[in-house]
Each structure stands twice: as structure tokens, then as C-alpha cells.
């Protein structure tokens, strides 16, 4: 098809036509490009779907936390005290291992007993700083209300035995007791009873007391393992949360299948609430 002369004329002349843009145009373009880059990276307010997802997650977590807190408050605070105690014991077990490691060291260096003795003595002195070294009974280490006093006799004993015999065994004992006193200096055995007397305490308060609750099991360090095992079993056998969840779930299933719903199992009864509401209206 032959091109129309008008088309030809304009095409020829205008295809190569040029109109120079103002200098501002380039600056404007650069500005727009910078804005575009920023937008592409995007602030948090532009991440619509992600923000929504994050919000939903936050709500879920918050809901779960409050629900858990409520249910645990209602049901068993005792369980809480148990679990916290167990946690504390677990914590306490870990340092014990460390102590053992410390203990191994002197065994290995039996020749340098004197050196280690000096060390342990200096440690002992720092540990003893605040306590008065008053006539310790060597053999008996009773469960006294103040463990520092209780452990100190051990230290004393170790010192006394080590000096004349130059034997490695007492040295083994002394670091242990020192470590114990230094790691838990302000522990009292009476603290445990405090926790048990206040079963209504909130979780946080119980947590704050956990340090003190360990006092007794730590002093009787031989018993702690058995106690902790017992407690761990206890926790494992009591998944309260899931059982409640299961109850609600079961009732939901019942409702779905058209069977009777046991509202006591769920924990609330909508029928009761309805009755209350209507009664108020009549008044």
C-alpha cells in the first residue's frame, strides 16, 4: 500500500523532530527515581499483608498467653510451685557439675597439694568474710537455718585435715563447700515454707522465690537428685493445658455431630448466661 503523501511528509519531518526538555526535567526524573527506590524497599507501613499477618500472630500469642495464665491460676498453683522448684533444681544441678570439675583438678595435681591448699584457703577466706568463725563442730554439718554457718564447719574441717595429712581428699571437699557457699550466699532453708504458705501468689512472685526454694535440696545434695527426678515425672504426667484443650475439642466435636454438649467440661454454660440476661430484661 502506497503511503499517503501527507503521511509521508509528516513522518519524514517529525520522526527526527527534537524538543529539548528543560533542565528541571532531569532533576525531576532523578527525584522520582529516588522515591521509587525508597518505595520499593518500603517502610513497615507499606508491608500491608505482612503487617496483617504479624498482627494476627501477635493476637494469637497474646490470647494463648492470657488463656494459659487464667487456666493455670484457676487449676493448680501447686503444679506451678512444683515446676518452678524442679526448674530451680535443674539449675542447681548444673553448677554441681562445675564443682565436680573443679574437684577433679586437685586430684590430678596431687604433688602440688600445698599450692592448691593455699588457693583454697584464700577462696575460703573470701567466702568467710561476713561470717564469724566461731568454734565449729568438725563432724556434724546440721541443717541449720543459715547454710553459711552450716557449710563453714566443713571448710574448717577440710583445712584442719589437709594441713597435717597433706592428703588430696580433704581438698576435694573444701572447694565444693566453698563453691556452694559462694554461689548461694543468702539462702535460707526456711524459704521453702514461705512459698508453700502463699499458694495464691502469682507466677512472678513464685518465680522470684524459686532461688530460695532450692535451699533445702541443695544442702542435702544427696537427696536432690531423687527429688528432682520425682518432680520431673510429675510435670511430664500433668499436661494440664492439653487435657483442657482436648476437653473443649471433644465438646466441639459433640456439638458438630449433634450430640449432647457437656458444658461443665468446656468450663462455661451459655444457657445460664442467656437466662441471666432475660431475667434482667423483665425487671
Amino acid at each position: 500500500m502506497k503511503k499517503h503523501p501527507i503521511d509521508k511528509l509528516f513522518a519524514q519531518k517529525l520522526k527526527e523532530a527534537e524538543i529539548k526538555p528543560r533542565d528541571e526535567a532531569w532533576e525531576k526524573l532523578q527525584l522520582r527515581m529516588q522515591q521509587n527506590k525508597k518505595r520499593r524497599i518500603g517502610g513497615w507501613w507499606q508491608q500491608g499483608p505482612w503487617l496483617a499477618a504479624a498482627g494476627v500472630c501477635l493476637l494469637l500469642v497474646a490470647g494463648w498467653l492470657t488463656w494459659r495464665a487464667n487456666s493455670s491460676n484457676e487449676t493448680h498453683l501447686a503444679q506451678h510451685t512444683h515446676s518452678t522448684k524442679a526448674k530451680a533444681i535443674e539449675k542447681q544441678v548444673a553448677p554441681k557439675d562445675e564443682i565436680k570439675m573443679e574437684v577433679d583438678a586437685p586430684f590430678a595435681e596431687q604433688d602440688q597439694v600445698a599450692a592448691t591448699l593455699n588457693k583454697s584457703e584464700s577462696i575460703k577466706q573470701t567466702a568467710r568474710k561476713n561470717t564469724t568463725n566461731t568454734a565449729p563442730e568438725l563432724k556434724s554439718a546440721p541443717v541449720s537455718p543459715q547454710p553459711m554457718v552450716a557449710t563453714l564447719p566443713d571448710v574448717q574441717k577440710a583445712e584442719n585435715q589437709a594441713k597435717p595429712e597433706n592428703a588430696p581428699e580433704p581438698i576435694v571437699e573444701s572447694p565444693r563447700t566453698i563453691a556452694q557457699t559462694s554461689t548461694y550466699p543468702e539462702i535460707t532453708s526456711g524459704a521453702k515454707t514461705v512459698v508453700l504458705q502463699l499458694p495464691e501468689l502469682k507466677e512472678t512472685l513464685v518465680a522470684a522465690n524459686t532461688k530460695e526454694t532450692i535451699a533445702e535440696p541443695r544442702i542435702k545434695s544427696d537427696d536432690t537428685k531423687s527429688i528432682s527426678d520425682e518432680l520431673e515425672d510429675d510435670i511430664l504426667n500433668k499436661p494440664r493445658k492439653s487435657t483442657r484443650m482436648a476437653k473443649v475439642w471433644k465438646q466441639l466435636k459433640n456439638a458438630k455431630n449433634g450430640e449432647r454438649v457437656d458444658w461443665d467440661e468446656v468450663g462455661f454454660n451459655p444457657n445460664k448466661m442467656l437466662a441471666k440476661a432475660t431475667g434482667k430484661e423483665r425487671n
Binding site: P5, L9, F10, L14, I19, P21, W26, K28, R32
Partner: protein, 197 residues
């Protein structure tokens, strides 16, 4: 031949660095093509300031979609198409492309005798600017950009026959106006020569 080869390699290199987002290459591209592409925009949008805004948007698109240019056909052609689309989009959103079917058809028979040597680019641009938007758009797309009536119909959302009739009317109007300019030029030359005598 060597020159063409050099040109090609340099353009390929330019495209490559543009694809990497090289700011220097972008500046270079702008320097090289902005005037030509602005002329395209002005042909569709009479106002130079508005056309500049469209030019900026068009360049943003060029930089954005440079990855889509696969080296098929000329790079400038690709840019022109993007710019044309941008201008059409602007016309669609900011103004109505009035397709005035009722406009009187130019009654003059085509006169192929006129000489076009004296006509300058500016004159032609001015003439095109005087056309109604619908005529101008169709004429630009068909005569200068080389679109088919089917493509124009699709782009503007009109029928092919409308596109054709718009083109015919545009041509007739343009011809009249061109004639006028030529006449003016001739009289001006005649006056000049008379003055010279």
C-alpha cells in the same frame, strides 16, 4: 559497516549497563534520547509542560522495564513505543480523546502538487497541534508511529472504521493547513523579493 557495528556494540553495552541500573548509563540515555522522545510526547499532548511530565514517567518505565528489552528490533523503537503508550495513557486518564464523528469532512480534493521543501519541523508540529485530540492521536499513531488500524482500534478502544474515518479527516485538515502555511511562505518570499528590488 564498521561504524554500524560500533554503534551496535555501544548500544548493546548501553543496554547492558542500563540493566545493571548504572546511573551513568541512565544519564547518557536521557541525554541522547530525551529531546526526541519529548517530541513524541508533544505530538500527542500539545502542552510542553504536561508532555515533560509524561516524558519523566516514560523514562521511569524505560529504566524499570529495561530487562524486558530482549534486543529484538531497535532500542529506540522500543523506547518510542513505551513513550507513546505513556502518552496515550495520559490522554486516557487526564483528558478524553474525543472522537468527533460529526466533525465536517474536508471538502477539498487531495492536491498532491504542493511542495514540501519549505515546511519546517516547527510548522508541522504547530499544524498537528491544531488538530482535535482524536484526529491527532489517530494520525500520529498511523502515519508516524506506523500502527495499523487494528492496533489503533485496540489501543484507543474504538472500532477500526472509526480509526479510518478519523485518519481521513485528519489528513484533509492537515492538508488545508499545510497549504495555508505554504501560501503564507510564498507571499512572504514574494514580499521579500519585492523589497529586495
Amino acid at each position: 559497516m564498521v561504524k554500524i557495528l560500533q554503534l551496535f556494540t555501544s548500544e548493546a553495552q548501553l543496554v547492558k549497563s542500563l540493566q545493571k541500573g548504572d546511573a551513568k548509563a541512565q544519564r547518557h540515555l536521557y541525554e541522547k534520547y530525551s529531546a526526541r522522545l519529548l517530541a513524541v510526547c508533544v505530538r500527542y499532548i500539545n502542552d510542553k509542560m504536561e508532555a515533560e511530565d509524561v516524558l519523566i514517567e516514560g523514562f521511569m518505565k524505560i529504566f524499570d522495564r529495561i530487562d524486558q528489552f530482549k534486543g529484538e528490533g531497535s532500542f529506540e523503537g522500543w523506547m518510542r513505543r513505551l513513550m507513546t503508550n505513556e502518552a496515550l495513557m495520559y490522554l486516557r486518564t487526564k483528558r478524553h480523546i474525543e472522537v468527533d464523528l460529526d466533525a465536517p469532512e474536508a471538502q477539498h480534493l487531495p492536491n498532491y502538487e504542493w511542495a514540501d521543501a519549505t515546511l519546517e519541523v516547527d510548522d508541522l508540529m504547530a499544524v498537528i497541534a491544531k488538530l482535535p485530540t482524536g484526529y491527532r492521536t489517530v494520525f500520529n499513531l498511523y502515519a508516524i508511529e506506523g500502527y495499523s488500524h487494528a492496533e489503533i482500534a485496540e489501543q484507543l478502544g474504538i472500532t477500526e472504521s472509526t480509526s479510518k474515518s478519523q485518519l481521513h479527516r485528519a489528513r484533509a485538515l492537515l492538508q488545508d493547513m499545510v497549504k495555508e502555511i505554504e501560501d503564507l511562505n510564498q507571499t512572504a518570499e514574494a514580499v521579500k523579493s519585492l523589497k529586495g528590488k
